[in-house]
Amino acid sequence: MNKALGKAFLEYKLLLVMGGIVILMFFFDFTFFNPINLINIISHVSINGILAMGMTLLMISRSFDMSIGSIMVLSGTITVMLVRVIGIPGAILVGVLSGILMGWLNGILVAKFKINSFIATLGTMVIFQGMAFSLTNMKPISSRNPNFQIFATYELFEGVPIVILYFLIAIFIVWFISRFTRLGKNAYDIGGNMDACRMMGINVDYYSIVFFIISGVFASFGGVLLSSKIDAASAVFGENVGLQIIAGIVIGGVSLAGGVGKVMGVVQGIILLGLLENVTMYLGLFGYFQLLFRALILLGVVIFDIVYVNVNSKMLEKTNFRKMKEIG
């Protein structure tokens, strides 16, 4: 009984935090609750959410990708520049596909050249952003084609932009992969014990590259969406995005040690961060309070998990010992 409660608490602690925030807002500012604002929150986190979905499998398999912010801006830049040359659909396609190439490069560096994923993607982060600098001449660029914006801002219903649908699709794809496919199972296995997987004949390098490509494609899709949403691209849009997404995923319950994590947890983590952003804005607080809250949540979650695991295993040891003695 007690155990079930503890487990449920662990599972839904983020929802509890969100609930707490929402209740606080109830007292502060009731206009917060108008549907437009709530949709706003979701549509605002959609692009970050798509990036996070892309990196979730990668992080479960115990690597990570610092370069997604740069992949995002480079794809966005390519798309915006190509709109005038080859038209909107072609540009979007090339933009999204460019993510495959970048993800593949990351994967090769990590899987084939055996560079630590942190270092490798730190390097490509600099390179991809540098390419965007070169292409844009360090200035924001725009396609000046009003139709380009439709791709991200088309409204499904009154006030519900299509990016939300993209986000839902991304969630579904990654959730499906993680639950029902060999690819997903391998992500957990490789993250849990890479050497054992190697010995069992799983092609770890191949899968690792695939996870990087997934991360790259989702990031470039996010980049295309971002540039379409505001019809602009700039090389500095992506700074810090990688770390932000990693934080969101960790808050969502994926361990840096690999092997554990749930897609729905990550979705919660990302929405929680979006909610915090929205609330700080709504309360008219100075923008950096959002960063403060984000930091506190991240540290809080990380420390909470460690303390919880420690206390819990000690308690388990005691209660099980007592039971064992009683049975004899």
Binding site: S313, L316, E317, N320, F321, M324
Partner: protein, 255 residues
């Protein structure tokens, strides 16, 4: 031969899993005990409890009749109980001298004053060189990093360490599992040298011939319980193997 260490009614649980289930173990002074058992029988766990790595869930440890509670390996070491883990005992990126003196570094003397935070590398090098020569342990250079030594050399160095620090009970967890035949012989020689100096040894191993080479007594664990504790001369490798896998040829020692 008096009793050195006594473990009584030891339990150790990891979460719900009972790794050690009510084990008693007595170790005499200068005695060599072979501890055997299948994989996951709990050998390492029992030894870690004895050396202070894990606190027991329940049970008492007595050293020379006095009850001791080991909160950390530091406490165990203080009463002369030292465990050598396979490959864990040495720091791979430090050189041989640094490893031999790990935890007992000699401070530099400046103006007749011990400077505790400065290392007297030269004296330590000289002493460890001399010491290894006495034990006939060959390393190319005591300045070599441990990761560049062979498995047997590493094992020898880590056993030498315990002699160096006057241990009274040395626990060796699978010391011969990953080294060549020639090197195994060296390690077994060192164990006998320890015994000659009056140091008690517990050797955990899968290899019957090694156990029967050096041990005075053989203890068998199965699924966390002690199922055999017998003088070497009263048993044979075949009988022990039967105990390990749980075949009881009529003797009926199942609990």
């Amino acid at each position: 031969m008096g009793t050195l260490v006594e473990m009584k009614g030891i339990y150790k649980l990891f979460g719900g899993l009972c790794a050690i289930n009510n084990v008693d173990l007595t170790i005499g002074k200068g005695e060599v005990i072979g501890l055997v058992g299948d994989n996951a029988a709990g050998k390492s766990t029992l030894m870690k409890v004895l050396s202070g790595v894990y606190p027991p869930t329940e049970g008492d440890i007595f050293v020379e009749g006095q009850q001791k509670i080991f909160k950390s390996p530091h406490d165990a070491r203080n009463v002369g109980v030292v465990m050598l883990f396979q490959d864990l005992a040495l720091v791979q990126d430090l050189d041989v001298t640094d490893n031999i003196f790990l935890g007992k570094e000699l401070p530099k003397r400046i103006f007749g004053q011990d400077m505790r935070f400065l290392l007297d590398r030269r004296t330590m090098d000289e002493r460890s060189e001399k010491f290894l020569r006495e034990l006939e342990i060959n390393v190319d250079s005591i300045k070599e990093k441990v990761k560049n030594l062979s498995g047997g050399q590493r094992q020898s160095v880590s056993i030498a360490r315990t002699i160096f620090f006057n241990a009274r009970l040395v626990i060796l967890d699978e010391p011969t599992s990953a080294i060549s035949v020639k090197e195994t012989q060296k390690v077994l020689d060192l164990i006998l040298q320890l015994k000659k100096k009056g140091v008690a040894v517990i050797i955990v191993s899968h290899r019957m011939e090694d156990i029967f080479n050096v041990a005075d007594r053989v203890v068998v664990l199965r699924r966390g319980k002690k199922v055999e504790d017998i003088e070497k001369c009263k048993t044979t490798p075949e009988l022990i193997i039967k105990r390990i896998i749980g075949l009881n040829d009529g003797a009926g020692c199942n609990q």
